[in-house]
C-alpha cells in the first residue's frame, strides 16, 4: 500500500511537472506573443490571403455552379468594354472631385477653427463632424429626398426661388455625380477638419511669431508656414481619400440601387457587384477585382514615391 502511494505520488509529481511545463511553454515571454497574434494570423490567412489569391485564380476561369473551366486571359480581354470604361471613368472622376473638395476646404476651415478669434469653435467642430455619424445609406436617403424631382422639394424649391428651372437631379450625368460628391463631402468634411486640426497642434507657435516680426501677413503665413508644415497630414488625407474614392459603392447604391440610367452612377466596385453577384459571372467579377487591385497598388506606389513617405518611415 505504501509502495502504491509512492508510485501515485510520483505520478502526480510528473503530471504536475508536465502541467507547469505546458504552462511555462504557453505563458513564457517567448511563446506568449505568438498566442497574442494567433487570431490575427488565422483571420489573415483565411479571410484575406486566401480570398486574395483565390480572386487572382478565379479571374483566369469561367465559373459555373459546380464546375469551372480555365479560359486564360479571356476575362481580362472582356474588360475592354464600354461598361467597364464608364465604371472606371465614374470612379476616377468621383475620386478627383472629392479630392478637390475635401482637401483644400477642410484645410482652410481648420485654420479658422483653430484660431482664438473664433468664439465657440468647439461647437462648430462638433456640428461639422456630426454627418459622419450617419451611414451613407441614411445620409443618401435624406439627400435623395431633398433632391427629389418635385419642384416643392428642398433643392428645386431653392432653384425656383432663384429663378432657375427645377432639375431632375438623379437622371443627369452631371447632377448625379454632383449628388454623390456632395453626399461624400457632407459626410467627410468634419473628419478631415479633425485631421488638419490635429496637424495644426504640431506647428510651433514661434514660427508664426517670427514671421509676424518679419512682417509677413496672414496669407503669407498660411502659404509659407501652415501649408508646408501640414504636408504629412495632407498626404495622409490624400491617401485615404484616394483609397475611399476608388472603392466607392454605397454613395451610388443608395441613389440608384446599382441600376442608374445609362450607368451614370456605375463604379468599379459596383461593376464587380453587378457581374459577380447579379449576373453570377464570378470569373469576370474577379478579373475586375484584380484590375482594381492593380490600379490601387500602382497609385499607392506612385504616391509613396512622390511624397517621400518611404524616407520618413526609415
Amino acid at each position: 500500500m505504501a509502495r502504491g502511494e509512492i508510485v501515485y505520488n510520483e505520478a502526480k509529481k510528473v503530471s504536475v511537472r508536465k502541467e507547469t511545463k505546458v504552462k511555462k511553454f504557453l505563458f513564457s515571454p517567448k511563446t506568449a506573443p505568438y498566442i497574442f497574434i494567433f487570431p490575427f494570423v488565422v483571420t489573415f490567412v483565411a479571410f484575406f490571403l486566401y480570398p486574395l489569391i483565390e480572386t487572382v485564380r478565379m479571374s483566369f476561369y469561367e465559373i459555373y455552379p459546380g464546375e469551372s473551366t480555365f479560359v486564360g486571359l479571356e476575362n481580362y480581354k472582356r474588360l475592354w468594354n464600354p461598361e467597364f470604361f464608364t465604371a472606371l471613368q465614374n470612379s476616377f472622376l468621383y475620386t478627383i472631385l472629392t479630392l478637390v473638395v475635401l482637401i483644400p476646404l477642410p484645410l482652410f476651415l481648420s485654420v479658422f477653427l483653430n484660431s482664438k478669434a473664433l468664439p465657440g469653435r468647439n461647437v462648430f467642430r462638433s456640428a461639422l463632424f456630426v454627418p459622419v455619424l450617419t451611414s451613407v445609406i441614411v445620409g443618401g436617403i435624406i439627400f435623395k429626398l431633398m433632391f427629389a424631382e418635385s419642384d416643392m422639394a428642398l433643392a428645386n424649391s431653392i432653384l425656383g426661388k432663384l429663378g432657375f428651372e427645377p432639375q431632375q437631379w438623379l437622371l443627369g450625368r452631371e447632377t448625379g455625380m454632383f449628388l454623390m460628391v456632395l453626399l461624400a463631402s457632407w459626410r467627410w468634411m468634419g473628419v478631415n477638419i479633425l485631421y488638419f486640426l490635429a496637424g495644426l497642434q504640431n506647428i510651433p507657435k514661434e514660427l508664426y511669431e517670427a514671421a509676424e516680426m518679419d512682417g509677413a501677413g496672414r496669407i503669407k503665413q498660411f502659404l509659407l508656414i501652415t501649408v508646408p508644415l501640414l504636408k504629412p497630414v495632407t498626404v495622409y488625407v490624400l491617401t485615404i481619400s484616394i483609397f475611399a474614392g476608388l472603392r466607392m459603392f454605397e454613395e451610388s447604391y443608395v441613389f440608384w440601387q446599382n441600376h442608374s440610367p445609362s450607368d451614370i452612377g456605375l463604379t468599379v466596385v459596383g461593376y464587380i457587384y453587378r457581374q459577380g453577384f447579379e449576373f453570377n459571372d464570378m470569373g469576370f467579377g474577379a478579373a475586375i477585382g484584380v484590375a482594381l487591385l492593380i490600379i490601387v497598388l500602382v497609385i499607392n506606389l506612385f504616391q509613396l514615391k512622390f511624397t517621400g513617405t518611404f524616407k520618413q518611415e526609415d
Partner: protein, 279 residues
C-alpha cells in the same frame, strides 16, 4: 482701431461658421421634420422645410409598431451584430497590437508589414471568394458571417500598437519578477492601462458596424436577418409605398449614435486622430 477691426473679423468669422453649421445640420432638421408629416406628402413633394402644423402626425412612428414591425427585427439584428463585432474585434485587435508593441519575436516585422499591407488593399476586390467561403462555412445569412472575416481589424491593430508603445514597460518586468504569467500581465496590468484606447476603438468599431453596408448586403439574404441599413436601402424602390417606414426608420437609426457621440465625443476624436496623424 486695431481691436475694432479684430472684432469685425471675429464677427464675420462667427457668422460664416454659424451659416456653415446650419447648412451641415439642415438635412437632419429636414428629415426630422418630415418624419412627423404624412408619408404621402414626402412621396409627392420630397423633403422640404415647410412647417405645416395642420399636417403634423406621429403616424410614421406608429407604423413601426404596427405593420412595420420588421424594422424592430432589423434594429435587433443591428444591435446584436454591433455588440458582437465590437467586443470581439477590439479584444482580438488589442492583443495583436499589444504583442507588436511590447514583445520582440521572430516574424514581428512580417506581421506588422502584413497589417500595413492589408490597410492598402481594398477588401471589396475579394468579395466573391469571401462569399464562397461563407457558403462553404455555412455562415451565409448569419451574424457570424457578417462579423468573422473582419475581426482582426488592421486599423484597430495599428491604433492599439501605437497606444501600447507608450505604456511603461517597467511594469511588465516587475510583474514577471512577481511570477505573473504573460497572459496575466496583459489582462491584469496592461489592459487596464489601455482603457482609453479601448474606449476610442469600441466607439469607432461600433459606429462602423452599425453603418456597415456592402458586406452585410452580400451575406444577409432574408429580411428577418437584415440590419437597419440593408433594410432601409431595400425600401428605396421607385414605387415608394414604404416611405413611412423609410423616414421614421432613418431617424431612429441615427439617434443612438448621436446620443453616444454627445457623451463620448472625445473618444471619437482620439480614435480617429491618434492612429492617423502620428503614424
Amino acid at each position: 482701431m486695431e481691436t475694432k477691426a479684430n472684432k469685425v473679423q471675429s464677427t464675420l468669422l462667427l457668422l460664416f461658421f454659424i451659416g456653415l453649421s446650419i447648412l451641415t445640420l439642415l438635412p437632419f432638421a429636414a428629415i426630422l421634420l418630415a418624419s412627423f408629416k404624412p408619408s404621402s406628402e414626402l412621396l409627392r413633394f420630397g423633403l422640404n422645410l415647410k412647417i405645416q402644423p395642420e399636417l403634423l402626425t406621429l403616424s410614421n412612428y406608429e407604423y413601426i409598431f404596427t405593420e412595420g414591425k420588421r424594422f424592430l427585427v432589423w434594429y435587433k439584428n443591428s444591435i446584436f451584430i454591433t455588440l458582437l463585432f465590437t467586443v470581439f474585434s477590439i479584444f482580438v485587435s488589442s492583443m495583436v497590437g499589444y504583442a507588436l508593441a511590447v514583445y520582440n519575436f521572430k516574424g514581428k516585422t512580417l506581421i506588422f508589414t502584413l497589417v500595413l499591407l492589408s490597410l492598402m488593399i481594398p477588401v471589396e476586390i475579394m468579395m466573391l471568394p469571401l462569399y464562397k467561403e461563407m457558403i462553404f462555412m455555412k455562415l451565409v445569412n448569419t451574424y457570424w458571417g457578417v462579423i468573422l472575416p473582419f475581426l482582426a481589424t488592421p486599423y484597430a491593430i495599428f491604433f492599439f500598437r501605437q497606444y501600447a508603445l507608450g505604456l511603461p514597460k517597467g511594469l511588465i518586468d516587475a510583474a514577471r519578477v512577481d511570477g505573473c504569467t504573460e497572459i496575466g500581465i496583459y489582462f491584469r496590468i496592461m489592459a487596464p492601462l489601455m482603457v482609453p484606447a479601448f474606449g476610442s476603438m469600441a466607439i469607432l468599431q461600433a459606429m462602423h458596424s452599425w453603418n456597415n453596408f456592402l458586406w452585410p448586403l452580400i451575406v444577409l439574404r432574408t429580411e428577418d436577418m437584415f440590419t437597419i441599413p440593408i433594410g432601409l436601402a431595400g425600401l428605396l424602390s421607385p414605387y415608394g409605398n414604404n416611405y413611412d417606414l423609410l423616414i421614421s426608420g432613418s431617424v431612429l437609426s441615427v439617434l443612438p449614435i448621436l446620443v453616444v457621440f454627445l457623451f463620448f465625443q472625445r473618444y471619437f476624436i482620439s480614435g480617429l486622430t491618434l492612429g492617423g496623424v502620428k503614424g
